[in-house]
């Protein structure tokens, strides 16, 4: 390494370095981090018949006295609503429950696919990866919409089952949680397959050969060698699907019925239908609090993965 020679040009780049750091940093600060404080502030506000429909806003226009008067109007009432009205806390519970069950289902469905891909002939692998990514690049909304035609009472699935004679009454799948699970597993599958594939593909196959030579049956070799070695992929995949599913709106809205309670849907309704911005903000703050632990864990995991590269 030519360390000594490179020091001088690097130092010359000092100002450029900080400019480069500053631009994306400033952007994310203004459009990602600061907005969350805004949501937090709004969640203590009260609803008003105005445009925008809330008061107060922490406004420095009226000086210190005005600011103080505004602060007096801050109230945790929105949070009381979330605790006292069962539909809110039940929505949180059922969101987390649906996200947990879906994550496990996705892992079960994705693992054999990723495993099969990683063991496919080498020249096939990049094409298979492309084929996993391709539907994920076509519209999410449209792919969810496609399931309406399949799962409906007069849908293709019922038509097929009636035709085969397996059932003689159409099954009600659409507008139930079953449809939500199918839609979620379908939409989030690539997010699990890809990280799993990445770890399985890198795995050293000689370990399995050694195990087989020493008389270890394939199933046992899978649980003792393959699965533990694929854990980084499992963890990454689970985070990638669990966190967004918890706040999912489109899938429960299109495929679920009125019985499907998810907090993302609740937030949307508070905001757009009831026009209660402060309550919607409180819903978002509590959702964020629920997700802080998984998000921080995800971030640490990503940083560790990045450092390991």
């Amino acid at each position: 390494m030519a360390v000594t020679e490179t020091i001088a040009p690097k130092e010359k780049r000092g100002w450029l370095k900080w400019l480069l750091v500053a631009i994306p940093f400033a952007w994310l600060l203004v459009f990602f981090l600061i907005p969350f404080f805004n949501v937090f502030k709004m969640s203590f506000s009260t609803r008003a018949r105005a445009m925008p429909p809330y008061k107060p806003v922490l406004d420095f226009a009226d000086g210190i006295a005005g600011l103080w008067a505004q602060l007096q109007l801050f109230t945790p009432a929105n949070y009381w609503t979330l605790i006292s009205q069962s539909k809110y806390w039940q929505s949180y519970l059922s969101s987390v429950q649906i996200a947990l069950i879906s994550t496990v289902l996705i892992l079960i469905v994705a693992y054999p696919i990723a495993y099969g891909m990683a063991r496919a002939p080498r020249q096939w692998r990049s094409i298979l990866v492309m084929l996993v990514i391709l539907p994920f690049w076509t519209s999410f909304l449209i792919r969810v919409y496609a399931w309406i035609g399949i799962l409906g009472n007069e849908g293709l699935l019922n038509g097929f089952l009636l035709w085969t004679g397996l059932i003689d009454q159409p099954l009600t799948i659409l507008t139930t949680n079953w449809a939500v699970y199918i839609g979620i597993v379908y939409s989030y599958l690539p997010f699990m397959v890809l990280p799993l594939y990445a770890t399985l593909e890198k795995m050293d196959e000689t370990l399995l050969e050694a195990a087989a030579d020493l008389g270890c049956p394939p199933t046992q070799a899978f649980w003792k060698i393959t699965f533990p070695l694929s854990l980084p992929g499992v963890v990454a995949g689970c985070f990638l699907v669990f966190i967004p599913i918890t706040g999912e709106f489109v899938i429960p809205e299109l495929l679920g019925g009125s019985g499907t309670m998810m907090i993302g849907k609740q937030l949307w309704y508070e905001f757009f239908n009831n026009r209660n911005w402060p309550l919607a903000s409180a819903v978002a703050v509590v959702l964020l609090l629920i997700l802080v632990v998984p998000i921080v864990l995800f971030q640490n995991h990503q940083q560790a993965a990045e450092a390991g590269k």
Binding site: A2, E5, F249, Q302
Partner: protein, 273 residues
């Protein structure tokens, strides 16, 4: 290759892909269905495509969405590439944890939270909501995806090339455009395409941050679907799927050819050296 292909592996991959593609294939087939009922086959017809061509509101929405995706993907690519360089090159700096948090968190953050928080920001800044507020929102979301994609390209990058140029007196900016950028270009292009499709696709964040006059295609599709399934949606979906599929295929073939040429050049260089 004892653990190579087995019937189990082949079947699971085949079933998995059938699951991934069946809904899309069905959608495409039924877009040519003459019947008004989405699930009853009434013969081949392109009537929904011609109905679509007469639907001015839908065409307007499509045009806005394309422009929006183009503008936001381009800005996001510049910012995301800068962010990736920051992450890979500048090691430990003050605020790095916060910075990487802000890069990774939007990848998983539920859309409803991101959308609501951006809307409240725009309201408190008193910005007129419409095309540009959605653009700002989409740049914020998609630049993080670009950063992650470009970053994966930068980690395998041979820095000695850059250092050689700098040692030979090439100014930093020129070094970046002559050496660094061409070498990470596949990652940058992939990042742009990802940003473009994410923006094209987004319903939730756009719904929160848009104003009158800037209805995007997903918003239009969503409201139509809520009123009941219309075969026209199948037609527009098919067109979108076709555009993206062709784009991705062309890009990947292009990328593959470049890769093959690069490997060939490297082999030649190794032989001569």
């Amino acid at each position: 290759m004892r653990y190579g292909q087995s019937w189990f592996n082949t079947t699971s991959v085949a079933l998995g892909f059938a699951f991934l593609y069946a809904p899309i294939v069905i959608l495409v087939i039924y877009s040519f269905n003459d019947s008004k009922l989405v699930t009853v086959w009434g013969g081949f017809s392109t009537r929904w495509y011609s109905a679509l061509l007469q639907d001015q509101a839908m065409l307007d929405a499509a045009w806005i969405t394309l422009r929006l995706a183009f503008v936001s993907a381009t800005i996001a690519t510049v910012l995301g590439t800068l962010a990736a360089i920051t992450m890979v090159r500048f090691g430990r700096f003050l605020g790095r944890t916060v910075f990487s948090g802000m890069i990774y968190a939007p990848l998983v953050m539920p859309d409803v939270i991101t959308g609501l928080s951006l809307l409240l920001l725009f309201v408190s800044l008193d910005l007129d909501r419409g095309f540009w507020t959605v653009t700002l929102a989409h740049v914020t979301l998609t630049m993080c995806f670009v950063a992650v994609v470009v970053q994966s390209r930068l980690v395998v990058f041979d820095r000695s090339l850059e250092e050689a140029a700098l040692d030979l007196g090439c100014p930093p900016f020129k070094t970046f455009f002559v050496i660094t950028l061409p070498l990470i270009l596949p990652g940058v292009i992939a990042g742009w395409m990802l940003a473009f499709t994410l923006s094209l696709d987004d319903l939730v964040i756009a719904s929160f941050t848009t104003g009158p006059g800037a209805t995007t295609l997903p918003m239009k599709i969503f409201s139509q679907v809520k009123f009941g399934v219309t075969p026209e949606i199948n037609a527009i979906s098919t067109i979108l799927i076709a555009i993206i599929a062709v784009g991705v295929l062309v890009a990947s073939l292009f990328g593959k050819r470049r890769e093959v040429e690069r490997q060939k050049a490297e082999r030649l260089a190794a032989q001569q050296g």
